[in-house]
Symmetry: C2
Subunit: 555 residues, 2 copies
Amino acid sequence: MSKQQTEKVRVFALGGVGEIGKNMYGIEVDDDIIVVDAGLMFPDDDMLGVDIVIPDVSYLVEQKDRVRGIILTHGHEDHIGGLSYVLKKINVPVYGTKLTLGLVEEKLKEAGIHRQTTLKLIDSNSRIKVGSTNVSFFRVNHSIPDSVGVCVETSQGAVVHTGDFKFDQTPVDGKQADIGKMAAIGSKGVLCLMSDSTNAERPGTTKSETEVGQGIAEVFEHTDGRIIVTTFASNVHRIQQVIHAAVKANRKLAVVGKSMVRVLSIASKLGYLEMPDNLLIEIDEVNKYKDHQLAILTTGSQGEPMSALTRMAKGAHRQITITEHDTVIIAASAIPGNEQSVSGIIDKLHRIGADVVYGQTKVHASGHGSQEELKLMLNLMKPKFFVPVHGEFRMQHAHRALAVEVGVKEEHIYLVDKGEVIEFTKGQARRGGKVPSGNVLIDGLGVGDVGNIVLRDRRLLSKDGILVVVVTLNKKTGEIVSGPNIISRGFVYVRESEKLLEDSNELVSNILKKCVTENVNEWSSLKSNVREGLSRYLFEQTKRRPMILPIIMEV
Amino acid sequence: MSKQQTEKVRVFALGGVGEIGKNMYGIEVDDDIIVVDAGLMFPDDDMLGVDIVIPDVSYLVEQKDRVRGIILTHGHEDHIGGLSYVLKKINVPVYGTKLTLGLVEEKLKEAGIHRQTTLKLIDSNSRIKVGSTNVSFFRVNHSIPDSVGVCVETSQGAVVHTGDFKFDQTPVDGKQADIGKMAAIGSKGVLCLMSDSTNAERPGTTKSETEVGQGIAEVFEHTDGRIIVTTFASNVHRIQQVIHAAVKANRKLAVVGKSMVRVLSIASKLGYLEMPDNLLIEIDEVNKYKDHQLAILTTGSQGEPMSALTRMAKGAHRQITITEHDTVIIAASAIPGNEQSVSGIIDKLHRIGADVVYGQTKVHASGHGSQEELKLMLNLMKPKFFVPVHGEFRMQHAHRALAVEVGVKEEHIYLVDKGEVIEFTKGQARRGGKVPSGNVLIDGLGVGDVGNIVLRDRRLLSKDGILVVVVTLNKKTGEIVSGPNIISRGFVYVRESEKLLEDSNELVSNILKKCVTENVNEWSSLKSNVREGLSRYLFEQTKRRPMILPIIMEV
């Protein structure tokens, strides 16, 4: 029963707009809520001690009964990394392609929820019903195989979410993006396009992944020593090309790093990697081979301090230490925020004297389409309304300009922030208010128990440390029984600042004595007197403001 | 008396190699130690709470009597920012050009050491004696006027330090780099060249500053609304071009931000800026003018949270709030490490709806020469030995490759780390050991009192916060008189974790009781029992490791 455009369609983002990471989008068709992706983001520098960040899904929890499923466009952390947390709150079916579900399964096992979760396998040719809504897919190229775009069919036209995409004319697996199918969707009529804005500021066309393979192969060709390659573990295409290069150069390949080993085993088990049986060797076997017979594939492309590559460079890795005879290929670019750690590892490798091959030019290509490709997508889909997603706000902004260039009406383009709803009725669009949205911080086992107060304290503590002032008072007389004892952490070298701490001690005693004589005896005011007095004194002396924690005991 | 090549020449870096920032170099000619520059560096992310970093100058202090002076190549913070700290330890004459000394004077006044310091004015034509060593200079182009290279004359040939340079064929002030003089120095014979490696990885030639002026002028031409421009306060050339653009567009110019105001007043006082008297207006006057009559020059090009630009964007600035009618020109690039804060401010401005002009392409040019210019410098100087300086190690490394390209013998090129000495006798070079070197961290008034222990504590505190456990015991019986009280900061929301803290409390009591019965009564072991027991429990419960500070009082 076609609903003759009577149904209400709503789209919104719970994450992925105004930021790079934790992609999560909602598409509502009357009672059906279809979720696209459930990603994580790595914390900003000021989210001290936080491990990962996921979207606030309280809206979905509140609307539980309407959520029909979560569709995953591909297997990257910023699209699937939040899934296990979300599924603990709303248990709904998860749709994804083979590789995507393969990677998801692992995570669900780790989270201990793989049994209670329904995984539904789809491919780019599937046409499925989610709730009472028809959903189809189309293949796109990206830096991980089996990536799809999503087409949600409504009587007002299709709502299309591209997922992450580029148009690679020479993809490693020979599977080009489904241009014909996209054109068909476009000509049937697209109500709203939600498209990847990551490279909306980058002119031209993104380089083919195959060129990266050639760059890597070249290095293999011209190198006699040992070769160490690092890239994103999830970039199966690139791993495939490293494998090809190793085979061609008659080198054995050792794989290092938890995530790299995991992805490699899943991808090859599922048939996304082809390699001769005798290629891989155990890391303990490397000493059996000469340098020119060896290649090592490792994690650490972002210079993570605990990663295998960093440990190899520091000589802190059990089996492998990088020397001046090695060649290191860093087949990746720095994710925003990692610039310093990446340049740190590159520097460290140069100090060792290793040959280092890095940088966009030769051994890396983005997985996201540049301006010409984004315009192509817009021209294929010919959307009536356009919502640029997946990017910092300025990238959504640049994407809008591209859409206008190819003829989308400016007033039909909506730049949305997290939670902002665009509502479609009878083929017309309007802003439809806001659903709850935000960041949920995950620290260890704690989900959301780290908030502004905790972060504010961590920031204070990290800046100038803490002074704990302990004193025991006589319940009746209010006189000091023992203390004050001052313990400091992260403030100054105690050795070199004995005088300062002695004087602080005396200051506190005087403040307390004064309070007694003036019989100020509520703890709160005692404490605030100590805090303010000491803080003022320390700032005069050091221009620092450590956190001061007065503890007053009574006996 | 020519020394017939009998004298010993040594060169080394106390800062500026293997890093971007805190440039400080030593050139020794027998008994004379000549210091080139005394810069600061901004702290890495892991130097929590540290304000700035300066070089360890203990070697210079130890050799006080031999240090003849500090020569400043130009007025950037990474070349003069450490000066006032160094001069407090060694009071030696400071040589610099007019603008450089103008900027230095301010700093010395702030530090209260301007009276005791001898400032000696030089220009690019000066030839002076420092100690018994002849020193001359040559003009270079850079992103601040009055920049010079240094030529230290020895009987073995000249030791040349380029300072920061580019070759700008169309400099804003019309003063090209002194190519003829450099060639003359080269043909007289250069023993050792120390040259700027910043852009050694960048092919081609760096854009002229004049092109930036055209870019800025264009924006002014095509904008009707208010224009807000931000750039590095020290980039006097660029400020001049903003002034030209404002004059041409009949706009008044308001200057905002402490450092911007300071540099502007110094530079114009010293005649490095030309502007009509009626151009500048006070910030409180902006409301007297229409948008199209106004331009605002402000600090904040690095997205610093407290900078004027950020506050204007947040609506937290007293006089100016940026609106969708404004055009903001960010005439700067992100200094390594600032990438996120810069993209943060750009994003914020886009959200407001302001037009934002930013990025290398149009309104910024580097102050450092690219590969072709570095090769030109090498060809002009024809050094016998080459020590690439001023850059991360990989940039020194890339600079070496360029030198080899233009014919410098590879074995005559030395990549040095901080403190490593290259020694020249009878025109031959060898590595001459190491002088003390390192980072001195400055936090508030404390110089060097923040070291590894303090930083380690701050890191711990920043990750998972702190728990303070206070308990008062009876001196004789060892029984608990009061407490345990547990206070936590930066660990968990207390509200949401009452249970956890109660259980922790109970756990601690049990540990202590157990200790009493087993009469463990040295405080140290009491404390370690509490620390370990509680830490283990909390990690099981939360997978976090807050710092635990047990405080045991006796009465």
